[in-house]
Symmetry: C2
Subunit: 324 residues, 2 copies
C-alpha cells in the first residue's frame, strides 16, 4: 500500500476536486465536479465523490497506475475516529457516516479527515513544514481554519475538533459570525474579513484608485485576489487592508502560541497568497503579544507552499498511510 | 524505582513546600521553608530546596522509607527538556539549569516541570481527571495557569511553554497585565481579578454587608477566600463577583476548547474552591460560546480534588516515573 498512488479528494463549500497523487506528493491526474452547496443532499455529494474517483481510476488505470486508497479532506467537523462528518457549515451533512459508505461503494480503503488537517499534513510531508514536528497551520480562506501537528502527528482532539481556531473569540461582543457567536477570529482575519473591509473602504470613499478600478466603482465586485493584486502594485489602501488583517492574524497567533507553543506557524489559504504583505504585520503583532517574549524562543511564521493542492495531496497521503 | 517513595517540591511565588509521597499519591511527610520572592537569588532558592529535601529524607529514613527521586514543580517557564527554568515572573530565575544542579547536590534523580503541569499530572493520576486522556487543567490562583494532557501524556509544546492560557488575550486593549500585555485572560479570571473587583465594589459602596464585615470597612483587607465564604453564606454581591469571574472563565474555556478540544476541563487553584458558585457560570458561558455547539459533544467542567497538594503529589509522581 505505501508505495501505491492514492486519490485525494477535497470537498469545500464550492467544489469537489480530486487528484491522483504519487508517494512523493506529485499530482498525476486531476478531476473536478459539480459544485455542492449547503442545500445539496448528502447522497448527491457522495455520488459526486464516487464519480470523480471512478473517473480518475479509469484514467490512470489506462496508464498502468494502480490506485490503492482514497483520502477525503472535508470542510467540516469530522469525528475523532474519522468515521462521521458531524457537521459542516457549508454542506448539509449532519452525522453522516461518510467513510464506511465510500469504502463500500468504491471497494477501496478510505480515510476521511478535516480539510485543514489534510492541508497541514501535506505541508508537513512535502511543503513548508517539512522536517518540523510541532506545527500549527492557519488557513485564511473564506473563513479561518486550522490544524495542529504535535510530535509529527496530527492532533484531532477528544472529539475530532481541535484546531477550530477561527471561532476563538478575539473581540468580546464583536462582529457577528456565521457560527452564531460574536467576535470570532475569522471575522477579523480571513478572506471574508479582507473583502468586507475593502468594500467598506471603497464605499466610504477611502479606497485607493487601484481598488476602485478593480471593481469598476462597484464595491460588491471586489474580491480578495483584487486586494492582494492592488497591494502588490503598491496601492497604499490595499497594503493597509492586508496590514489590518495581518495584525489580527498575529494577535490570534499569539493566543494560539500561548496555548499550544508550536515551533512553526504555516499560513495558507487564498489570503496567504499575499505573502509578506500579510505575514510581516502578523509577525510583528505576534512578537508584540506573545506571552513571555524576550524570555523564550519565537515560533516562526511562514507561508504555505502547496497552494490549493495541499488538501488533495494531504488527503491522498493520509489515505496511503491509513490516517496517521 | 517505580515502587519507591519520592519527594515532591512545589515552588511558588511565596513558598517552597515539599512532601514525601508514596506510589499511590499519599503524602507521608511534609516540610516547608522560608519564602522566596522575586529578589531572592537563585542560589538561595536552590539551597532551600536542598534543605527541605534533606530534612524530609532524614525524617522518613528513620522510618525505613527510601526516597528514590525528587520532583520539582516550579511556577515558571521550564524548557521542553526539563533542564532549565527559562523565566519565572515570581522568582529571579533566568535560564537557570536547576535540574542538573539539584541532581548533583542531592545525589538522586531529579525532574523539573511547570507547577501547573505537575498539578494536572496529579489530578490525572489520583484526582478529578483519573481515567481521562484528553484533559486541560486551568488553575485560578494569583494568576491563571494551565496544563494540557493529551493521549494521557503531558503536552509541553515545542519550547516547554504550552498551556500558558492566562496570557491569551480576551479583551483587546483591555486591563494591563504583569506580563506587559493588555487584556490577558488572567486579568478577568483569577484570584487577583476576584479580589480587585471585590475591593472596587466595596469602595464604590456596592459591596454587600458580608463583604464589608469581612474587611472591617477596609477594602484592601479583602481576600479571595473572604469573597468565597461570603458567597457561600448567601451574600448576593459575592455570588455576583464569582459569577463574573466564572463567566470569564467559561468564555476563555470556549477558546481553549476551540483550539485543543479536550474532553474534560479540571479547574483548580484557590478560586476553584468556590466550586459550583464559580463552575456553574463557567459551564453556562462555555456552552454559549463553544464553536459548533449543538453539533458536538460538550467537554465536562469539574473542580480539582487534590487542592494545594496537587503540585507536590504530581511532581513526586513525575519524578518516580522519570517525567512521563
Amino acid at each position: 500500500m505505501a508505495g501505491a498512488a492514492a486519490i485525494g479528494v477535497d470537498i469545500g463549500g464550492t467544489k469537489v476536486a480530486a487528484a491522483v497523487v504519487n508517494p512523493t506528493g506529485a499530482v498525476l491526474a486531476r478531476a473536478r465536479t459539480a459544485t455542492p452547496h449547503r442545500t445539496t443532499a448528502p447522497a448527491v455529494v457522495e455520488q459526486a465523490i464516487v464519480d470523480v474517483v471512478t473517473q480518475l481510476r479509469d484514467e490512470v488505470g489506462g496508464q498502468g497506475i494502480d490506485v490503492g486508497a482514497v483520502g477525503v479532506g472535508a470542510a467540516g467537523f469530522v469525528s475523532e475516529d474519522g468515521e462521521v462528518i458531524r457537521f459542516s457549515p457549508h454542506l448539509s451533512w449532519r452525522d453522516e457516516p461518510l467513510r464506511a459508505e465510500l469504502a463500500r461503494r468504491l471497494g477501496l480503503p478510505v480515510v476521511v479527515d478535516n480539510d485543514a488537517n489534510a492541508a497541514l499534513w501535506a505541508e508537513s510531508r512535502f511543503g513548508a513544514a517539512r522536517g518540523a514536528d510541532d506545527v500549527v497551520m492557519v488557513n485564511l480562506g473564506t473563513g479561518l481554519g486550522g490544524g495542529v501537528l504535535r510530535r509529527g502527528q496530527l492532533e484531532r482532539g477528544r472529539f475530532g475538533m481541535a484546531g477550530e481556531f477561527g471561532h476563538m473569540c478575539v473581540v468580546p461582543d464583536g462582529l457577528r459570525c456565521e457560527c452564531g457567536n460574536r467576535g470570532c477570529w475569522e471575522q477579523y482575519a480571513s478572506g471574508n474579513a479582507l473583502v468586507r473591509e475593502a468594500r467598506a473602504l471603497v464605499e466610504a470613499g477611502g479606497g485607493g484608485s487601484a481598488l476602485v478600478a478593480f471593481c469598476a466603482g462597484t464595491p460588491a465586485a471586489l474580491t480578495g485576489p483584487c486586494v492582494t493584486q492592488a497591494a502588490r502594485d503598491g496601492d497604499p489602501a490595499s497594503v493597509g487592508l492586508l496590514q489590518e488583517v495581518g495584525t489580527w492574524l498575529g494577535r490570534g497567533l499569539a493566543n494560539v502560541a500561548a496555548a499550544l507553543d508550536p515551533g512553526l506557524f504555516v499560513i495558507g489559504g487564498g489570503v496567504g497568497d499575499a505573502g509578506d504583505l500579510l505575514l510581516d504585520p502578523a509577525r510583528e503583532a505576534l512578537a508584540r503579544h506573545l506571552p513571555g517574549r524576550g524570555f523564550r524562543p519565537m515560533p516562526q511564521v511562514v507561508g504555505a507552499r502547496l497552494g490549493n493542492d495541499a488538501g488533495l495531496i494531504g488527503a491522498a497521503d493520509l489515505a496511503r498511510r491509513g490516517r496517521a
